[in-house]
């Protein structure tokens, strides 16, 4: 048994069986009987008790299997949820239990729900409550925050695979697709949208983005209207455009990080242009995000939404028209209509447009060709040159082909929003498809790896690529879980590595890793949502943006 400082907080007491809400009756652990708490005690005591929720059977031979899930975003959480469901549905008489340990690099769970979902979409973050129930209701599953898998100083992937019966990688995408244009990485003021979003959402690793954005948007006593060009037309691009257009005024009651408000400015940015290579029928955004842009002005954010009718006409090729008639085209048809209405509305008001009106332009059939340095500062971007494209090809496979006609967009800041990209943890390279940024898998199972050392699986963006909405992870996680269960059912529970949790704890203690438990995270949560920490009453929370401050709030501060 382990007895160290961590033990008190995160104890792994195998001799005490705390029953979960879902298991019925009470469990005999050999030493004592613990009656099921109806719906759990306090957060504190909940998280201080750990155990085998399903202990040995009468013969003492069915051992719980151990599962480590790397990443606690939507894909990790839904995988855990459906794994628990799958175990609940199995006949309980002879089944061994399951221990799930969810490992998270940050002290806080929820991944992109916390650091990706736009601050003005609080309702989308309601899913955090569902995920929180995982940790609250069940002692079979534990949150291990501040544990960066893949670092030798913490725990390597191989060590994890040796410790656990099943390892599920659900750590998503920590990199970006690149345009591959000269200046993209060297000119200041060109930032990936992924980094920009992480920064305004208060991610502790992205503070440095603020310096670059601040420089670009010129908090330099220069009152010229600022221009931001966003390259790419997914929902991330539209989120960025909306946040920039709303400005501090329109976002102060959200959970956007305070550090970003003075930089994006009280009124936001005057000119935001979102460009995409293909036409409006091929855009990757969904209608909710588009509609929000059309309503910016009506909802008091003072930003006119501009769509050019002639670009919509250019995009409506015969092949595009066919795309609108295909099965499942309903979302595209509705987007087309909304854009047509918006284009008509924006051309009707052309006369009233003045230079000082904020505007968000959604521009199509424009392919970025060149970043031009700024006249004032040759180390920084000043403009983006785009080439007019035309669509060629079959319906559903149309490509944007250059026409030679160029258009130059002034840009103080460029956000590149052409997609996230997964990267392999050390030790994962051989099963990684570097081109697509995903782990090679079949139904979530990494076949060769599993054959070599035991169950390795993958869920979410690392499995299917960076697309879809939170809900997409439901089907995705179920798919992976089906295959995990298949393999577990075929294996002998006698061979289960049921002491994985204790061994991992021991390893992390040896290496001086300060693990943030679920109850520790509750302390971070309490601080972030406390009236004295928030900037307005209406704000749901003010995120702590410094890692040290998070650990201190969690009560696990480094010495």
């Amino acid at each position: 048994m382990i007895s160290a400082s961590f033990f008190g907080r995160y104890a792994a007491v195998r001799s005490v069986a705390i029953i979960t809400a879902r298991t019925s009756g009470f469990i005999t652990s050999g030493r004592q009987i613990v009656c099921p708490p109806k719906r759990i005690q306090s957060f504190h005591s909940r998280c201080h008790s750990t155990t085998a929720s399903t202990t040995s059977n009468a013969n003492g031979d069915a051992k719980p299997c151990s599962v480590a899930i790397v990443g606690t975003g939507p894909s990790g959480c839904y995988t855990a949820k459906y794994l628990l469901n799958a175990f609940d549905k199995k006949s309980t008489t002879n089944s061994s239990g399951i221990h799930i340990d969810m490992l998270e690099r940050l002290p806080t769970p929820y991944g992109l729900v916390r650091y990706g979902v736009a601050p003005d979409h609080p309702e989308v973050k309601n899913v955090e409550n569902d995920f929180a129930q995982l940790f609250v209701d069940s002692n079979r599953i534990q949150f291990w925050g501040n544990v960066a898998v893949g670092s030798d100083a913490v725990v390597s992937l191989e060590e994890l695979r040796e410790l656990y019966d099943v390892v599920v990688l659900a750590y998503g995408c920590a990199s970006d697709r690149k345009l591959g244009l000269p200046g993209e990485t060297s000119l200041l003021g060109i930032v990936s949208a992924r980094e920009f979003v992480a920064w305004y959402n208060g991610h502790p690793y992205f503070d440095h983005i603020g310096y670059e954005v601040a420089n670009a948007l010129g908090n330099d006593n220069n009152d010229n209207p600022k221009h931001v060009v966003i390259i790419g037309q997914g929902n991330v691009a539209l989120d960025c455009a909306r946040v920039l257009a709303k400005g501090a005024q329109g976002l102060k009651d959200t959970d956007i990080a305070s550090r970003s408000l003075p930089i994006i400015g009280e009124d936001g940015v005057a000119n935001v242009t979102v460009v995409g290579r293909r036409g409006h029928i091929q855009g990757a955004f969904t209608i909710k995000e588009l509609r929000e842009l059309t309503k910016l002005q009506a909802e008091g954010h003072g930003a006119k939404f501009v769509v050019l009718e002639e670009e919509l006409d250019l995009g409506e090729t015969p092949a595009s028209k066919q795309e609108l008639e295909q099965k499942g085209s309903r979302p595209k048809v509705r987007i087309n209509k909304l854009l047509r209405d918006a284009a008509a509305a924006s051309s009707n008001h052309d006369d009233t447009t003045t230079m000082d009106t904020k505007q968000v332009q959604l521009r199509f059939l424009l392919s970025p060709k060149e970043f031009q340095p700024s006249d004032a500062d040759p180390s920084a971007v000043g403009a983006v040159v785009c080439e007019r494209t035309q669509l060629e090809g079959e319906p559903g496979k149309q490509r944007a082909v250059g026409t030679g006609q160029l258009e130059t967009f002034p840009a103080n800041l460029v956000l590149v929003s052409i997609g996230y990209k997964g990267t392999p943890l050390p030790g994962l390279e051989q099963w990684f498809d570097a081109q697509r940024g995903v782990v090679q898998n079949r139904g979530g199972k990494v076949d060769e790896a599993t054959a070599a050392l035991g169950g390795l699986y993958v869920s979410g963006w690392l499995k299917r690529g960076p697309s879809g909405i939170i809900g997409t992870n439901i089907m995705d996680a179920k798919d992976t879980v089906v295959n995990i269960m298949k393999d577990l059912d075929a294996s002998n529970s006698d061979d289960s590595k049921s002491d994985a949790r204790e061994k991992l704890l021991e390893l992390l203690q040896q290496r001086g890793v300060h693990v943030v438990s679920w109850s520790d995270f509750q302390k971070i949560d309490a601080k972030e949502t406390s009236a004295s920490y928030k900037r307005t009453d209406q704000q749901p929370r003010e995120k702590i943006v410094e890692l040290d401050e998070m650990l201190e709030a969690a009560g696990v501060a480094s010495r």
């Binding site: 469901n85 979409h121 309702e123 989308v124 309601n126 899913v127 409550n129 569902d130 920590a174 200041l188 980094e195 992205f206 440095h208 603020g210 310096y211 670059e212 601040a214 420089n215 908090n219 330099d220 929902n235 501090a248 305070s258 408000l261 003075p262 930089i263 969904t286 209608i287 909710k288 509609r291 309903r330 979302p331 509705r334 997609g419 990267t423 898998n441 079949r442 139904g443 979530g444 299917r464 690529g465 697309s467 879809g468 909405i469 809900g471 997409t472 439901i474 089907m475 798919d479 089906v482 949560d525 949502t529 406390s530 009236a531 004295s532 920490y533 928030k534 900037r535 307005t536 009453d537």
Partner: protein, 165 residues
């Protein structure tokens, strides 16, 4: 893993940010309040009808009591039906998507623009699709079967390629 190569830029926004970061004292805010599932609060004494949920496997039917006046999402959650409600029933996701029989669909009020927008993102959308959080149980629904979108088991194994986003 993350580029920190551009960190040496001057800290030119610190004064402004410090002003903003000086948080105003606020009192009386709802601290850590958890929002519960959206939808009407229906008495446990409300009359009930029996509704059926055709499961994603396309075969199994689960029959459960539904309280008149509650949403179908609430019915599902009270009865352990595996219908997700990621946004907690506030019409901000598409995870509680259900397929209604044509006549029941026709008897409903038109879906709101918000619901239509969410339905656009629903997996396996049909002409009679609605969100479970937006459909309220009525007396006339006794005996009605609602269909959950079909799960395609191992759809990646079967060669399904998700559309790029």
């Amino acid at each position: 893993m993350f580029s920190r190569s551009r960190q040496s830029l001057p800290l030119i926004y610190s004064a402004a940010s410090k002003r903003l970061l000086k948080r105003s004292p606020c009192v009386g805010s709802a601290i850590g309040s958890i929002r519960h599932h959206g939808g009407p609060s229906v008495s446990t004494n409300a009359p009930t009808v029996t509704v059926h949920f055709l499961q994603p496997d396309g075969e199994t039917v689960k029959s459960v009591p539904a309280r008149v006046g509650e949403s179908l999402l609430q019915t599902a959650h009270r009865n352990d039906i595996d219908l997700e409600g990621a946004c907690e029933g506030v019409c901000a996701c598409s995870t509680c998507h259900l397929i209604l029989p044509q006549d029941v669909y026709d008897n409903q009020e038109e879906p709101s623009e918000d619901e239509e927008d969410m339905l656009d993102m629903a997996y396996g959308l049909t002409d009679t699709s609605r969100l479970g959080c937006q459909i309220m149980v009525s007396e006339e629904m006794d005996g009605i079967q609602f269909e959950m979108p079909k799960a395609t088991r191992n759809f990646y194994v079967d060669g399904h390629v998700p559309k790029p986003h």
